[in-house]
């Protein structure tokens, strides 16, 4: 646990055709963070821990946070194309490391199937994108926004769950959650949170990959982790015990250590 003040900047920048809410901090080689379908509420403790070693860049993806949302973005493939554009316009040196959470993991995997020179190493965390072999991806849109966060955490007493989600939201926070849901629904509606072609493209990935999964992931079943592992050559797996769909928020330290171990190894 860090007690140092969060050394990060938050700004709004015009990049790759949209107005992007961009949080960044740290120094060194760039590390791109692609958030999941619920957006990212803050510069998180996990970002801070990673920023001690890397220059961490966390854009709010189009439609999420306060980033703008042009009509042309209609699918995760469109989003992947946008991320590629974003990386280039940001001037981030490539290949670069990437950590993608849930939908963000799916985006990273899509990019890695089309361009093996973009990422040096890739970490997929509870990644969506594949139809699970067992179980189903939890339905965000048959459930309330509150339920989604509850379902995403195994431990409802964990500090960041209580800090961000397990309490009454301010009107602004509730509006932001709805904005994020409006973005997610456009990218993920059907086929629901998966691609029918990605399984066949996974063998095209040459990027060294770590799959991180919470054993109790209540959103994307752990059977999807096995499918990613089978599809991506030499993919490593780190299963976090007593942990749900958001290891970065539920167990930030263990999560950061796992990621750093892989990136530096």
């Amino acid at each position: 646990m860090t007690n140092s003040p969060a050394a990060f900047t938050e700004e709004t920048v015009d990049i790759a055709g949209i107005s992007v809410q961009l949080r960044s901090g740290g120094s060194g080689e760039p590390l791109l963070v692609l958030h999941g379908e619920l957006g990212v509420p803050d510069w998180l403790e996990a970002h801070e821990l990673l920023a001690r070693h890397y220059s961490v860049c966390v854009p709010s993806l189009p439609g999420f946070g306060t980033s703008s949302f042009p009509d042309w973005l209609m699918s995760v493939r469109d989003l992947s194309a946008w991320v590629n554009w974003f990386v280039r316009e940001c001037g981030l040196a490539t290949p670069l490391n990437v950590v993608g959470f849930s939908m963000g993991g799916w985006i990273a995997a899509e990019l890695a199937t089309t361009n093996s020179a973009l990422f040096s190493k890739m970490v997929l965390v509870g990644a969506a994108g594949l139809k699970p072999r067992e179980g189903e991806i939890w339905d965000y849109f048959l459930n309330s926004a509150k339920d989604a966060f509850q379902q995403s955490f195994h431990d409802h007493e964990s500090a960041q769950y209580l800090k961000y989600y397990g309490r009454d939201w301010t009107p602004d926070e509730a509006e932001q959650v709805e904005t994020n849901r409006e973005a997610a629904i456009r990218y993920l509606w059907r086929p629901y949170m998966h691609s029918v072609t990605l399984p066949d493209l996974l063998p095209a990935i040459a990027t060294p990959t770590l799959l991180v999964w919470g054993r109790q992931d209540g959103i994307v079943p752990i059977s999807s982790c096995e499918l990613y592992q089978q599809g991506i050559a030499n993919a490593q797996v780190a299963v976090m015990e007593d942990c749900g769909h958001m290891p970065e928020m539920e167990k930030p330290e263990e999560f950061a250590n796992t990621v750093l171990g892989f990136l530096k190894g």
Partner: protein, 411 residues
Amino acid sequence: MFIGHFTEEPWQVPDWPDEWGTGIHKVSNAEYDPYRAANLYNRYLDEKIYAEEVGFDGLMVNEHHSAPFCMNGVANVQASILARITTKVKILLLGNILPIHDDPLWLAEQLAMIDVISRGRLIPGIVRGSGGESISHNIPPHYNRERFEEAHDFLIKTWTTPGPFRWEGKHFHYRYVNPWAVPYHKPHPPIWVPGTSSRETVEWCARHRYPYVMLSTQLELTREMFKIYYETAEEEGYEAGPQHMGYMFFVHVEETKARAMEVGRTLTQGVRSPFDPGVQRPIPWIMSPPGLNSRKAVALRRQMTAPDATGKTRAGALASFEDQVATRGMIVGTPEQCVEDIRYIMDYLRPGIIIFRTGDGAMDHESQMRTLKLMGEEVLPAMRDIAKELGLPGPYEVDPATNEPVTALAS
């Protein structure tokens, strides 16, 4: 004056558990008993045939999905049957849920066939539908309005432009639009649109000069929505009139007030529509998924249906049967009493279209037939006289598209 008949055609069963409520997105279709359903579907059709016989101008049919409160999952099936078993009544669809159709060409051809078989009696109304319909058919709710508008434009073009032609839109794509069947009614069948309290919809409707039918809404709110129609029409450069305004409300008529209150109460019992007063609203994130309505529309609707200073919601969300009767949300009484209340509504709202919602909820067949008979004998003729007196032409007297008198041939 155009007077229509409507029932939601609810599932009726004596032992429906209270906790199942409207049943929408809650109850498995393992509860659907085809033998009971066969009786109910045929009962509702019998009532429609009788409604034509007693003098209604139109039979309104709607559809909902995964919804026991409305057995009609496919309005066009019932419309097809009515096209053949009725002879003069208009078949009013309110309506097809345009955004949930992935193939609007198929819809265009179905509707054209119904219009032709009925010899031009179809009114193919269109709706956006609630979130539940999008979820049942896995249609993106966030493109609901775009799909509604594009499908509408496509239907009109398909009905009015000789094929073949190509359609390359955002949501629908065809390389060969050339359905063999085209509508009987020229230039195309009249489109009506129902509403509850969406400002965006009433404005859209007014811009297209389509009759707008408010469904079981509180009187004051209804008048406000009509006002938006009139204002939008003015902006568009034409004068709206009764031929553009429709209103649906519950009616039950009996020989005595006491009997009417006793039997009319069954309208508020049984498996009911979640949109009705007094019914527990269904799950909000299913009825209104992210993106189904714009934030502006959601805020406006909240404002329009907010409780007044006394805490009563204008939509009457928790109104009792007695409250609804007292506020003319439900017209229940003897023929004379009903006519008096209906005259008040006609004078207050000045609609050219009135639709009786009747035989609904837990009401039995005999009661519905009894009330239809009284409506035909006493209520409808009186309403026609009142409409003349107040100057309330319906859309088959004054054409909403032109404001010109409708000729016998065109109607």
